[in-house]
């Protein structure tokens, strides 16, 4: 082994070591906990027809081509409240209860609420059922569905019996906790 070969090998080894370091840094760039990274453009294309139909009637869902005839619920949206959709709602904010002020990012997954530890939002108090309610997406809009809970789920003070679209800023009450969907 000549000195030159060893020097070249040494430099090659150090280079490889740094390639490894930068490979990790490069991979980190795109993978800072993938679930929370949201891209807006696919949302825009997916929710465009919904938004177009919702906008003129300001919160009432029927009459639009995307709101199918088999829509399960009568519109329960509050006066002037725009229905929360993947396009305009980005977070769920706890407004009262133990973790008042806490936020939960809205992605594209349904969000389960209940006592059980497999729920996305776990609420452990005396009024919450194991599987209490869920927030789900219907044509890109957020709906609240009560899962036969004992004490019920309330939207703007009225008990939810069928899946109901949630207006932006409307108060949803589960047990002793209330939350709303915000931009």
């Amino acid at each position: 082994m000549s000195e030159l070969t060893l020097l070249v090998l040494q430099l090659g080894f150090l280079l490889l070591l740094w390639v490894f370091v930068f490979a990790i840094v490069y991979a980190l760039r795109s993978d800072l906990f993938g679930q929370r990274v949201r891209k807006l453009q696919p949302d825009a294309s997916a929710a465009a027809p919904v938004a177009a139909s919702v906008f003129p009637t300001a919160g009432t869902s029927p009459g639009a081509p995307t709101a199918a005839a088999s829509h399960p619920a009568a519109p329960a949206s509050g006066p002037g409240g725009e229905t929360a959709s993947t396009e305009n709602a980005t977070r769920l904010v706890i407004t009262s209860g133990q973790k008042s002020g806490a936020e939960f990012p809205l992605g594209r997954d349904e969000i389960t609420i209940g006592r059980s530890s497999d729920s996305a939002i776990i609420i452990r108090d005396d009024y919450t059922s194991t599987h209490h309610a869920r927030l789900m997406l219907w044509n890109g809009r957020w709906m609240i569905q009560d899962l036969d809970s004992t004490n019920g789920t309330f939207l703007n003070g009225s008990r939810v019996t069928v899946p109901t679209p949630i207006p932006l800023g409307a108060t949803v009450k589960v047990g002793a906790t209330t939350f709303e969907l915000r931009r």
Partner: protein, 467 residues
């Protein structure tokens, strides 16, 4: 994210309930696989370069042992494909590279010392790596949810103290180079229980602080803009402090004491976000260390060596002098920017070049560029650990993640700081690199716990409201 785009396209047409994000299978695991391949390439390359540099030819038998480490790491990778598919993809490759670099350097020093076979430190290190990675696989298979550990808060506290005291038990305790931190049965199987104790302590601190942090953080008198705790809340701080001081006095191990106490302080700070705890704790530790440096010979020696290593009197001293420290620095200086090359330096001149001083050995042969790459790997490892703790939902998981990551960071700081004369030199092992079975086992278990935590972080609820 391609997977989210898919889901976005699907969501317009499917009924509710069908709107689920389609998880691209094993995307993280595939990243890990590629990094692991690169890691194995580095490890095998290191061993081959050691052979080129020292022997001038390739000895396939030992190179095969390097392949053995790669096989084990892939074993852990495959286990994770089944039981922790959403775990962090960077921890395992980083730990593998560090472990492999350590093995290469230990092997290089074995060649310099003409040691081979089962007596050599490198073969033992590979066997210990096998045991350690097997322990990591067992951990990840057995502990399916880190919250299980929360139940055993006080038990792990007890285990930690028993492990710490074991070396003091006559018969099984061993004393090596002044520190009584080893246990062994007969001449074989020496083990440093303190290394395992750091995991048990992290679990205990996390559980204890989650249970009691309100009283620790809320009450107390404000003085100089900081809220100081009540006397009765000071209890745990004083107990841990006393424990650390006992380690210094009875086991003569300054580094371990600093490690435990630092771990406790940081977890206390993270749990309560009260700077006053850190100020109080650091004050206590510095006071304790100063008293120890005045009264205990060996601590005083360390301080003197740190402040004045180039004094010929200290350098020539037979026992407890600064010979090792100075030789290590000469080695680092000899390495320069790109190092002498594997097998081209003289790291074997320094005492214990394969364990306490492996950083100096690597610095000599890989140079500043190599040392910085190694430190960057530690930074990435610790940053991932903090990230896992930061993203966790339950408070116990958060604290445990931060604690485990910090214990690695602090240990690296104590060792590298000691070798480079930033702080007084204390005997601690460099995580993953240094020769020593107990340290390897403990650190690989930490890897497994962090992997388990990161898996639950991705899978599990993101908001918990306790009524």
């Amino acid at each position: 994210m391609t997977d989210q785009r898919t889901a976005g396209g699907v969501s317009t047409g499917t009924p509710p309930g069908g709107v689920r994000r389609i998880r691209l299978p094993q995307r993280l695991r595939n990243t890990e696989l590629w990094l692991l391949l690169l890691a194995s390439l580095i490890n095998i390359g290191a061993i081959l370069l050691v052979q080129f540099g020292t022997l001038g030819h390739v000895d396939t038998q030992v190179a095969l042992l390097g392949v053995g480490l790669a096989v084990l790491a892939f074993g852990l990778h495959i286990a994770m494909r089944f039981v922790a598919r959403d775990a962090d993809p960077f921890l395992l490759p980083v730990a593998t590279v560090l472990n492999g670099l350590g093995i290469a350097m230990i092997y290089r020093i074995d060649i310099a010392d003409n040691e081979a076979g089962w007596e050599s430190a490198s073969v033992r290190q590979i066997v210990w790596s096998a045991i350690a990675i097997a322990a990591a696989i067992a951990t990840i298979l057995l502990i399916r949810n880190h919250r299980v550990l929360f139940r055993y808060t006080y038990l792990s506290g007890l285990v930690a103290i028993v492990l710490l005291l074991l070396p003091l038990v006559p018969g099984i305790g061993r004393e090596e180079s002044g520190a009584r931190v080893w246990i062994g049965i007969g001449d074989i199987a020496t083990f440093q229980p303190g290394e395992i104790a750091k995991i048990a302590l992290a679990v205990f601190f996390a559980g204890y602080l989650v249970r009691n942090r309100d009283s620790l953080s809320m009450v107390g008198k404000t003085f100089l803009g900081m809220r100081f705790p009540r006397a009765r809340d000071l209890g745990p701080l004083l107990v841990v402090w006393a424990l650390s001081m006992a380690v210094i006095v009875f086991q003569r191990d300054l580094g371990t004491a600093l490690l435990y106490f630092g771990l406790f302080l940081v977890m206390l700070y993270v749990a309560t976000s009260r700077l006053s705890w850190v100020v109080l704790g650091l004050g206590l530790f510095v006071a304790g260390a100063l008293v120890a440096s005045q009264t205990l010979d060996y601590v005083g020696n360390r301080f003197a060596n740190w402040l004045d290593p180039f004094n010929p009197e200290r350098f020539d001293q037979d026992f407890g002098g600064s010979y090792q420290l100075v030789q290590g620095m000469f080695g680092l200086a000899n390495g320069g920017l790109i190092g002498t090359g594997w097998g081209q330096g003289r790291p074997d001149i320094t005492p214990v070049p394969q364990s306490d001083y492996i950083i100096a050995s690597l610095g000599e042969e890989l140079g500043l560029a190599g040392i910085f790459a190694i430190l960057a790997l530690y930074v990435l490892f610790v940053a991932r650990g903090f990230r896992i703790g930061f993203a966790g939902q339950d408070d116990f998981g958060k604290l445990l993640g931060v604690g485990l990551a910090f214990v690695i960071a602090l240990q690296v700081f104590i060792v590298v700081g000691g070798v480079t004369r930033v702080i007084p030199l204390t005997g601690l092992t460099t995580p993953f690199l240094a020769a020593g079975g107990s340290s390897l086992v403990a650190n690989w278990i930490i890897v497994a716990l962090l992997l388990r935590l990161s898996d639950t972080v991705r899978n599990h609820p993101r908001l918990v409201i306790e009524g």
